[in-house]
């Protein structure tokens, strides 16, 4: 494993320090560097706070800024942040309209955000949206359900725009829950990742293998299958996504091809092209698109495909201006 680092213990802190310095126009550290927040907080709006383990960059710190998050808490690599970080972010960003916590559905994240919410509940109005967009269910009714993966970007963008537009806490939380039924993601990995702490690869694949249905922590997926052409891989993934999402001809779809960190953007565009061709054959319209490296698993080679069924109002939330380090546009 060769990574640009000094030592494993300080890697996240050093990287965050670089991030904040490089984007000082947009962001600043919160108290004791426990989180990253917008440089200028706006009162009179619900504060959006997200977070999770490091290793998914640019998510979530890259989504802090006007039109998206107010603060992001970063844990160690692939380890959710601790409640004190989240509580500190709540204290510093709550402008009286309450805080919405956006949490990916991993037990670690859910439990840490939950403990923070319990501990801060006396002084703050808090609601939580748990993002569950992964196509792969754990296969059992008793399970904790779908993981939160790249679809988190979509949830954070839409809720961020809504919060900016003055939506109240309950409205935001209701939209967040509602979106969970309409966003689906599937991931494929061409290799494992090396966790810097242990310097060991999470899994090793042969030249002709890939892992289907992976998350964003270098975990193995649901099945190890034969490597295939981009067209075949995209077709398999879209089939799983669409049979789960069941859009009809009238739906407006958002198509988001996300790289896991080690796959160059040229390959993401190639996969996007394959997906567009597939959609064209199915007679399904793609209303909005995003292609890039946004929700990663360190330097894992692979990508995920996210499809979201959005209504007109949600499309305008997507189009609304956003000014963050990683996502930036005017409407």
């Amino acid at each position: 494993m060769k990574k640009f680092m000094n030592k494993a213990e300080t890697l996240v802190a050093e990287s965050l320090a670089g991030f904040v310095a490089a984007h000082e126009r947009l962001v600043a550290f919160g108290a004791e560097r426990k989180f990253v927040r917008r440089r200028t907080l706006r009162r009179g709006k619900v504060a959006l706070i997200s977070g999770g383990g490091a290793g998914h960059e640019p998510m979530h710190v890259g989504f802090v800024g006007k039109g998206m998050l107010d603060a992001a808490c970063t844990g160690h690599v692939f380890t959710s942040p601790t409640p004190d970080q989240i509580i500190a972010a709540i204290r510093e960003t709550d402008g009286g309209e309450g805080c919405l916590l956006i949490v990916k559905n991993y037990d670690g994240d859910v439990m840490n955000f939950e403990m923070a919410a319990e501990l801060a509940a006396a002084e703050h109005r808090i609601a939580t949206v748990v993002v569950r967009d992964d196509v792969n269910p754990s296969g059992s009714k008793r399970s904790q359900g779908r993981r939160g993966v790249a679809g988190t970007l979509v949830v954070e963008k839409l809720l961020g725009a809504a919060a900016e537009a003055g939506w109240r806490l309950e409205e935001l939380s209701a939209l967040g829950d509602d979106l969970n039924a309409r966003i689906r993601t599937m991931g494929v990995a061409l290799g494992g990742v090396t966790v810097p702490d242990t310097q060991r690869e999470t899994f090793v694949l042969d030249e002709d293998e890939m892992e289907m249905g992976v998350g964003i922590h270098g975990e193995p997926g649901r099945a190890r299958v034969n490597f295939a052409t981009a067209d075949q891989i995209v077709e398999t993934m879209l089939e799983a996504i669409l049979s789960d999402l069941a859009p009809d001809g009238g739906d407006k779809l958002l198509l988001f091809i996300n790289g896991f960190g080690g796959t160059p953007v040229s390959e993401l565009y190639l996969a996007y092209n394959a997906a567009r061709a597939r959609f064209a054959r199915l007679g399904v319209t793609v209303a909005r698109s995003l292609v890039g490296t946004y929700v990663t698993s360190l330097d894992m080679a692979g990508l995920s495909i996210t499809v979201a069924r959005l209504d007109e109002r949600e499309l305008s939330l997507w189009d609304a201006p956003v000014d963050t380090a990683a996502l930036r546009w005017r409407s």
């Binding site: 383990g53 380890t79 409640p83 991993y106 670690g108 939950e114 193995p220």
Partner: protein, 204 residues
Amino acid sequence: MLVVPANAALIGGLIEACRQTIAANADHLSELDRAIGDGDHGTNMRRGSEAVYAERDRLVHLPMPKALEEIGLTLVMSIGGAAGPLYGTLLMEIGRQMAGDADFARVLERAIDAVARRGRASAGDKTLLDVLYPVHAEVVRRAGLAGIAEEAERAASLTFAMKAMRGRAAFLGERSIGHVDPGAKSCALLTAAICRFLEEQGPA
């Protein structure tokens, strides 16, 4: 049953015993986690035990219930991930319950229930609960320290055949079968270390 050494020595000794066993087994725990999780359980547990160790001078002067609760809080605020809230809740609850109840079996039962609620998990889900429940049963039937430690190890090894229903491993479905759960293993290791330490303190 046990001859309890002076409070400070006891707390300090437990902290040190736990820290040592985690330090010695961190790589193995991460190795287990790599198979069905994200490969960091050893690192997480070490971060937690080092954080507690760094505060031992303060902790040893607290009464036992308060010390355990504070250790739990330190674990929560330092570990992160799944293990942080779970081990944190366990210790915080043991401390809180101990303050008002002298029956350790009942204290442990309530604390384990709090862990299960926090994790929305039950017996058989292939988690550290699959060690905690059997350990509790041994405590209830007043097994000796060696027996408790043995049962913890046995219980951890039984998770090998289980299909994970909670935590990252659950996303693997059937592929989670055939591996020992890292959290169960760390729980057994800690239980054994504590039993060993207490045994050494007690009369032969």
